[in-house]
Symmetry: D2
Subunit: 361 residues, 4 copies
């Protein structure tokens, strides 16, 4: 049982509340002799930093990572890697007006029902700030996989739908993704997205998003029947991200509308390589990687903190209403991209190590 | 790590191949002093039995359950409950022609790549036959929850989309569901579904489906941050079912297209009861149950074994093709309904017990 | 959490009560492509069979093993191996007279206090009969390790103290151990032991024993800091055996009386090999194997079922007394030898696989 | 799998090396609404502080605890409690001379063989400094149990054998234990122990010790068959402490020499209370607590760092010798007392929570 731990062999445990002195994580099960520096981790963290454009929250979370253990002479030692990020911008007063109210769409009510406690400071433990720790853990997993699998290993995430606006996946452009504040993969749609999100923001409203994460260079054979399936662990990983409500592997929910002929990916040999005519499976068959790219997408619901007044109740059981001002993203989904990438790295590495344990002779 | 075990406190381990002498499971962590009989379990198993209508496989899987341990004088003792189902209808010869070929859409290739072994007998361990064990485990979880929560506890699953045909959820009729071979909740659509599936079947083709599972009477407070979230474990549970490619909690993937105003469920008091104006959250906020009904849906891809010839490769790396005759369901999704119900029971009970461990004073 | 499961990667789950229809286990995480037959397992089981000499219980437990899954064409497939032993000699009537009494030294009282249930049939789940399942799991682990490590891998257990009589470890004779009904390693003491145990048996009394398990050919590097130490898992494994009350690694409890000079094993090179001048450490330093033989010993308390009348209470809270007739071993410790060997195999394999996961490049 | 995590529901993960910037731990699964302050934890930590008398190491480890998360308004919130201790006295130069040598009796060689890394700084991760984190975790468990069970709950540890000198357990004096630097329970032996240890220290030698931990006020029913036995988890907990080589429950290894009549503890009713005539079982029958006091003892081997020159090898495979000067305890066993107490608290709480999960109605 592991309330705040993710993973089986490569495991990370996160801790910390949004308005406490610090947040952090402990990464366990990392193989030894892998070169990792604080800079490697900082680079990944910088991707999720708010305040980078007018489309994300203007809070300044500096997210400066410190490694406290597990690295000696620039290399992992096989012992736990503890990382800490001190919280700097903790304006608790912002939350005083909502101290006793349960924000609809947030976990305020359910935490209170479970624990009998109301930690009103920015969501406390339920804050998305926790995801910084996952990005740090993911940065480590990425370095290990680059070392084990080599250069062909890569993971890229993008926003493929912004509220009511989709994009054309055929225009997927890896380089473009990292150069725009939306992680949008389709150059042709960007202007429209900008306009749309600005209007959402002006209205004090918010919108949802779909994020797609692709993993390249994954060897066949990762995953395991029946209850350590790769897709099962990926679904679990993505669903654990704040505000995620749906997860697809490959064609996902759309598989329901396909016929057997349309859906099953034909197989053929090209030279010595096994190839597939399509990838509806998202690179996973029977819970085990096929050697194709792994494709996972997930939906992030719209930010629940909006300007419009909403009905709710307070700690004392009274009907009331709430309107959330302050600094909030019109679309939190955008910031989920590096988190989805991090979770992909962690799940892949976990299964990579599991496979070494069980199937190597 | 648990390749073939599901759950944290209430855990079940399944074993067996489709064409071995038997399949079964061991249920561990079941509370003591709960009345359970073989009949209780048999009733649930009968729901997933093939050969019940012309719309499912004509194999005769008798699925007669035997309890071997853990029950004494009609009650659970707190020790592991071992259950076994002997395989009777094992026509291995059906599979001789495809012995060395990898069926597209199946796990034949990936198992071979992982283990270096080709157990061609009906999919071996990857066969959906394994799900009978889950239904047995779920039947036990159901009895425990009925005992602990009482009569208001109930779980109902239905097929809400059959291939390209949806249904009207407003017509959801609990009693109708169990009376039609499609587990269809909408009387008005049934005739159309029948016609459609017959045409699919005649063509030797197949189609996908969406299944929705609803849980009623769930107390608030089940689930846990951050990596034992209730929705995370439900996503994991449903994704572990054969052929499932996508999972939604509440509004799921559609959340992406909503605004904050549309999505977040307003809260109010009606007498002493906490109520919500809508249930986009599917009964889960921040990974913890809110007291609303839990709503999960998932997509099952179309049966991969179809009559149409498909390109593939064989064990020796040669290009070839395959056409699967024999007894197969035109829509395996239909049979996933009792399995989804069983997984819902198991996850809810697991979190119920976890909550007792952590939060009761 | 795993009430009835042992291990991390190589895991086995046991089930069954002494007087139910069968007992058995499911072995998960076994690597694929290892040759294993029912005979391999039966051979190990036969070692623990009662009724083999006048020094052990005269019950006839046939302990015929059946493999139900996980082996195809004589080799492991990587899927769970389910094994079953049907109970034949279930004379429940023997237990009628003690139905409502708690036998001192047994778990009758504590099971009742925990579960509110009295399964009086020969101890129910607490019966040592459960250990047959472990021996079966251990037989599989042994085959895997012989395959992975090779012929130098071996495990031998012996009784080194029988009640008040020790033996001379310098006379340890591997071949002699398997040829006498005491698993005694010292030819010179055997006659004395025979006399002593016969007198114990005639008196309707019982005595304890110390068992030593040695593992040869163990590579350095197995184990892990801090909470997966090899010695920690061995202590846990041995303490889980019925009636075990103490566990030593190497010099064990005697280490307390040594000085630093006497205790720490000096290291030197002989050719390319790392050697030690002594083995007080029992082959484990800092929780990790050093390449020396692993030496574990444990104490088994005397059989609690004796002829002498003992004070106790019954289910209804009344003072009463009990005297246990029937078929019982004068020294259950003797039968613990193959069980200790089995647990050693399982722990070593588990750590061997873990090490492959974490440290192989 | 959990290399650096201990526990099932109440879990702690430790991290840090003796000469890194800090050490710490994350406690997960702690129930909410328990009052805990830094002072509560500091009090326990002060017990293990070296430099408190001439009988322990003269290093000044300040061990100032900081709580970083999981406590809000003085109470636990149910979220992970992260604690950190900054390392102050890190004289790495002390270790330069032994940089490439493997100290006999230490884990230097085995870590190197496992990870291919030599973190020579005071043992790195294998340093007993890690145990400060356990004491912090144990302090939290203690507070929770005092809250749940009440005042009758208590745990006391003592040194019952110092090298070749035992003590008289009949003289066990709870108050005396905390007032002498040996945690000696027997007033009559103290002077002799002082003399003995001074002579050991003068000689630059070291000696082992036996520590006994007693837990009072434990309810019956804690523990679980078969692989979550209370005694199994206690053996595992104690064996995980640095330098421990043997663990006894109740009469432990001595059980081997007893007869059934001597060993099994007779049961009787005194008023409504269940009582026992003796406690050879150490309060545990069949892995489940009986309501008697829990008695565990363990042996700590003598400090391996001694003045006498010892043969060993270096990183380059050459024969060499080593003599360890510097600040070392003549008997590290003494400092194991608060660590054993902490592990007892943690195991008891873990099983207390498990029992709530499984057996409460």
């Amino acid at each position: 049982m592991s309330f705040n731990t993710f993973g089986k062999i490569f495991r990370f445990t996160t801790w910390g509340e949004s308005h406490g002195p610090a947040i952090g994580c402990v990464v366990d099960g990392c193989p030894p002799n892998i070169k990792i520096s604080e800079k490697d981790i900082q680079n990944e963290l910088n991707k999720r930093k708010p305040g980078q454009s007018k489309f994300t929250s203007q809070r300044k979370e500096d997210d400066k990572i410190n490694i406290l253990s597990g690295i000696f002479d620039g290399k992992t030692t096989g012992t736990p890697i503890s990382m800490i990020i001190y919280n700097k911008d903790m304006r608790s007063r912002d939350y005083e007006t909502i101290k006793n109210k349960f924000r609809p769409g947030h976990a305020d009510l359910t935490y209170y029902k479970k624990y009998g406690i109301r930690d009103y400071r920015g969501g406390g433990r339920q804050s998305a700030r926790e995801t910084a720790s996952r990005v740090a853990a993911g940065a480590i997993a990425k370095k290990v996989l680059e070392n084990k699998i080599g250069k062909k290993y890569a993971v890229t995430g993008a926003v493929t739908q912004l509220g009511i606006l989709g994009c054309n996946l055929k225009n997927w452009d890896e380089k473009f993704i990292s150069k725009n504040p939306f992680f949008c993969p389709d150059k042709t749609i960007l202007k429209l997205w900008e306009k749309y999100l600005l209007s959402i923001r002006k209205a004090g409203s918010s919108c949802g998003a779909i994020i797609e994460i692709r993993a390249y260079g994954i060897p066949a054979g990762l995953g395991a029947p029946i209850y350590s399936k790769l897709d099962m662990d990926l679904a679990s990983a993505m669903m654990s991200i704040n505000a995620v409500k749906g997860v697809n592997i490959g064609s996902g929910m759309n598989s329901a509308q396909l016929t057997g002929e349309e859906n099953s990916d034909e197989i053929f040999k090209m030279g010595k390589k096994t190839k597939f005519k399509s990838n509806n499976a998202g690179g996973i068959l029977g819970g085990i990687s096929s050697g194709q790219n792994i494709i996972v997408s997930f939906a992030v619901k719209p930010t629940s903190s909006i300007l419009t007044s909403r009905k709710t109740i307070d700690k004392f059981g009274k009907n009331t209403s709430i309107s959330v001002k302050g600094r909030h993203d019109p679309c939190v989904g955008i910031r989920a991209v590096p988190i989805g990438e991090a979770m992909m790295h962690c799940v892949i590495l976990d299964h990579y190590l599991m496979n070494s344990a069980q199937c190597k002779s």
